[in-house]
C-alpha cells in the first residue's frame, strides 16, 4: 500500500501546486513510484498534454464511473511518475465532488489507487472545505506550504487546527510531515529576520530545513505545465526540490526508526 500525502494550504498562491508537481517528480527520481493527483477543481493545474496524453478525463470522470484508472492516470515519458488530472470540471461536477468527499467516495478511490504506487501526492484545494478535509481524512501525511511572509505565516494556525481536529476525530494515522517555506528570497532582510524568528519560535522540525528559493524558472515551468527538472534552465531549481525530497525521505526514515524502536524493543532479528 502506497502512502497518501496531501499538499495543503489555507491561502492560495503559496506554491502548493508547484510543490506537489516538483516534489512528486523528485520522489520519482529517487526511485519511488509516484502518482500525482490534481484534486483542485479551481487550481487550473493544466498538466502538459505532452505528459498526460490528450484526454481531458481525470479524477471526476473516474469517480463518476465513466473511466477506468488506466484511462485517467498517465506516465510521463521517462515512465517515472504517473499523473491524474482533476477531469471534467463544471458547476455540477464540483458539487458532485464535494458530495463524494463527504461520503468517503474519494477516500475509497485513493485506497484503490495506492495499491499501484509508493506515494500518492495530492494537490488539494486551498482552504478547508469538504474536499480538502476528506483528503486529510484519507491521508497518512500532510505537507503545508507557506511563503516566508507574515500574511502567509499568520494563516497557519487555522490549517494546524484542522489537522489537529482530523487527527483527533477521524484519522489518528495522519502525520504532519512538515511545513515548506516556498518562494524564499535569501537576500531580503525582512524575510531573513522572519526566518530567524521562525527557527527560534516554532518547535524544531516543524519546518523543513530545506526551503524553496524564488526562481523565475518556476513561472516558465508553470506556463509549460512541467516540473522544472524537465527544463534545461531548471536544473538548480529542480535540485532544490530534490533536496526537499531527500529531507522528506530522511524524516520518514527517522520516524519509522523511532517507531520501530518503540514497538519492536524485544522483537529484534536475533
Amino acid at each position: 500500500m502506497g502512502k497518501i500525502v496531501t499538499i495543503a494550504s489555507q491561502k492560495g498562491g503559496t506554491a502548493k501546486t508547484t510543490t506537489a508537481l516538483n516534489l512528486s517528480y523528485s520522489l520519482s527520481c529517487l526511485g519511488d513510484r509516484v502518482l500525482l493527483l490534481d484534486a483542485d477543481p479551481q487550481g487550473g493545474m493544466t498538466i502538459a498534454t505532452t505528459i498526460k496524453g490528450k484526454t481531458p478525463a481525470g479524477l471526476i470522470d473516474y469517480l463518476a464511473g465513466r473511466c477506468q484508472l488506466k484511462e485517467v492516470a498517465f506516465y510521463t515519458k521517462e515512465k517515472k511518475m504517473a499523473i491524474m488530472g482533476i477531469g471534467t470540471v463544471d458547476p455540477d461536477s464540483v458539487r458532485q465532488l464535494e458530495d463524494w468527499a463527504r461520503k468517503a467516495v474519494i477516500a475509497k478511490a485513493l485506497k484503490r489507487f495506492s495499491k499501484h504506487f509508493d506515494y500518492i501526492v495530492i494537490d488539494a484545494p486551498t482552504g478547508f472545505g469538504s474536499v480538502p478535509v476528506a483528503l486529510l481524512e484519507a491521508s497518512q501525511g500532510v505537507i503545508l506550504t507557506s511563503q516566508c511572509q507574515s500574511l502567509s505565516l499568520k494563516s497557519l494556525p487555522k490549517m494546524l487546527g484542522v489537522i489537529d481536529w482530523v487527527q483527533k476525530s477521524s484519522n489518528p494515522d495522519l502525520s504532519l510531515e512538515g511545513i515548506v517555506l516556498t518562494m524564499r528570497h535569501p537576500d531580503n532582510e525582512t524575510e531573513n529576520e522572519m526566518f530567524q524568528e521562525i527557527h527560534s519560535g516554532f518547535p524544531a522540525g516543524l519546518f523543513f530545513s530545506e526551503y524553496i528559493v524564488s526562481d523565475p524558472v518556476f513561472e516558465l515551468a508553470s506556463l509549460r505545465s512541467v516540473p522544472v527538472g524537465m527544463l534545461s534552465a531548471g536544473k538548480v531549481a529542480a535540485h532544490n526540490y530534490h533536496q526537499l525530497a531527500t529531507e522528506y525521505k530522511e524524516r520518514e526514515l527517522l520516524r519509522s526508526l523511532s517507531k520501530g524502536a518503540d514497538d519492536g524493543a524485544d522483537s529484534g532479528l536475533f
Binding site: L153, K154, D164, E197, F202, P203, G205, E247, R251
Partner: protein, 187 residues
C-alpha cells in the same frame, strides 16, 4: 521588536504546532544538508564532468589548489592503483563532492547513494549494530558496488566505489578514506 513572534496568530500557531509535534514525535531537523563544500550552482558542472577521461598516472593531491580537485585526485589514484571502475564521494543526501568515472548518470548516483545509505543505516539499527558502515552489492556477474559510510564531526558522508568482484578492495578503501577525511576536514 519581533516581526511576527508577537502576533496572536503566530502564538496560536506555535501552541498548536507544539501539540502536533509532540504527538508526532517529529525528528529534529539536522543541519547535515547545509554543510557542503560545493553549492547547488556547482551541480550542473559536476554533471558535465561525467566524461572524465581515464586516469593515466598518479598525481600527488597535495599539489592541487582546490579541495574538489584534491578529492578527485585521491579517487583517481585509488582507481588507478586498484583497477576500480569509478568512485564518488557524496554527503548524506547523495550530493557529490568528487566524481571519477561514474558508472551511470549523476542523478542516479545521488539517488542510489541516498537509498543505499538509508538501507545501511536502517539495517544497522535493526541489527542493533549502529556502527554498520560497509555495504557490498554485486550488480552483475563481474562488478560490485561498495558503499562505505564515514563520519566527519558526527556528519555522515559516503564513498561509493565500483570495482571487479574478485578484487579485495578493503585496505585500498580504508587508505583512501583517511586521505578524503583529511581533505574534507581541513579548515
Amino acid at each position: 521588536m519581533a516581526l511576527i513572534l508577537d502576533s496572536s496568530e503566530i502564538r496560536e500557531a506555535i501552541a498548536l504546532a507544539s501539540g502536533l509535534t509532540a504527538t508526532l514525535n517529529l525528528p529534529v531537523a539536522t543541519d547535515a544538508g547545509k554543510v557542503r563544500a560545493i553549492t547547488v550552482a556547482d551541480v550542473p558542472a559536476k554533471i558535465a564532468q561525467k566524461t572524465t577521461p581515464k586516469p593515466s598516472a598518479e598525481i600527488d593531491p597535495a599539489g592541487l589548489t582546490y579541495r574538489g580537485d584534491q578529492l578527485e585526485q585521491v579517487l583517481r589514484n585509488m582507481c588507478l592503483r586498484s583497477h576500480f571502475g569509478g568512485a564518488v564521494v557524496t554527503d548524506a543526501t547523495g550530493l557529490p563532492f568528487a566524481v571519477v568515472n561514474p558508472p551511470v548518470s549523476m542523478e542516479a548516483v545521488s539517488a542510489f547513494t541516498s537509498v543505499l545509505g538509508s538501507a545501511l543505516e536502517r539495517a544497522g539499527s535493526l541489527l542493533g549494530q549502529h556502527g554498520a558502515e560497509y555495504l557490498s552489492l554485486d550488480i552483475n556477474y563481474e562488478e560490485k558496488i561498495i558503499l562505505r559510510r564515514f563520519l566527519i564531526h558526527e556528519l555522515p558522508y559516503f564513498l561509493l566505489v565500483i570495482c571487479p568482484q574478485e578484487v579485495d578492495e578493503r585496505s585500498e578503501i580504508e587508505i583512501s578514506i583517511d586521505q578524503i577525511v583529511s581533505i574534507l576536514d581541513k579548515k
